[in-house]
Symmetry: C2
């Protein structure tokens, strides 16, 4: 990801990102939430947190959180995520990558289009960046870029937790509610 | 709000609730984010946090957060919120209350309906509860109850940050994106 000044960094993992995004992932039927970090201490931290809520005291205290955090997997880079999805799939398909960005970009796909793509059953990795967003080098090599989330204002500083929740709702949510 | 066992409690205010929900509020054009707590120490804590980001070092470090946290107001109960909205309004209308709940309830309104109601320009208070949700006594006296958020699963344990973001997107978001 990039920091405030646009430099490529590895951000620290935020506890609430795992809780909020995994709960949204279960709600909307995402298969997994991968946390990607090259930092060994951050990987250890996330693994301890997952163990607490899936096997430790947290699992008994709050089974709903257990169900959510069971979806979380930690990997050191995107290629390791791609490999893991391939290995777990009954069809040996390489998942396509869909990056998100708060900026408008050429050739971005919309939410209805992504919803239709998902309905066809192929695997996709929806990628969100913490800090000031995904690094350009990841955006450039992605298969697709999703259009930014927009409301009536031009403010584009949603948290990664809000953005993940809204995107999942737009592409996997029940749209039939009157 | 209620706790895990259904008892009415005053929950502690979570720092990230203010950040995430105020950023979503700016994005979608909500006028204010009211934090309602009867606890004096929690009120003081929230006021210090707002001051840091709107007038202190935080305002210079991150103007986008400043813009969001400027929407936050702390009040001790719902009646004080209603009074504040009335006082600030150029029309002396009592705002209607719309409560949210993860449970299905009789006579709940849908998202399209609430969207149309908002478009008419009357003031509404969208109420979300932290902990295990709003107390029944608030739900019973509300003008409207919003249908629960649903995805393809029956899991209904979104964080208040996710729920607020998704609801704002459903009722105020730009729905025209192809």
């Amino acid at each position: 990801v990039v920091n405030k000044n646009g430099a490529v960094i590895a951000s620290a993992v935020t506890n609430l990102d795992l809780h909020d995004i995994s709960r949204a992932a279960v709600t909307y039927g995402a298969k997994s939430l991968y946390v990607v970090t090259p930092l060994a201490d951050q990987k250890t931290l996330v693994e301890r947190l997952i163990t607490h809520w899936t096997q430790g005291a947290g699992a008994i205290y709050n089974p709903a959180r257990r169900k959510a955090l069971q979806l979380v997997r930690v990997r050191e880079d995107l290629e390791a995520v791609v490999e893991d999805i391939r290995r777990r799939s009954d069809r040996p398909l390489r998942p396509k990558t869909v990056v998100t960005s708060a900026k408008k970009r050429a050739r971005a796909i919309g939410y209805h289009a992504f919803r239709r793509m998902l309905a066809e059953g192929q695997p996709y990795i929806l990628m969100l960046g913490t800090a000031w967003g995904l690094a350009e080098e990841l955006i450039e090599v992605a298969d697709y870029t999703l259009a930014p989330i927009s409301g009536p204002s031009d403010y584009n500083h949603l948290s990664v937790r809000s953005a993940a929740s809204i995107i999942l709702d737009r592409v996997m949510g029940n749209r039939d509610i009157a």
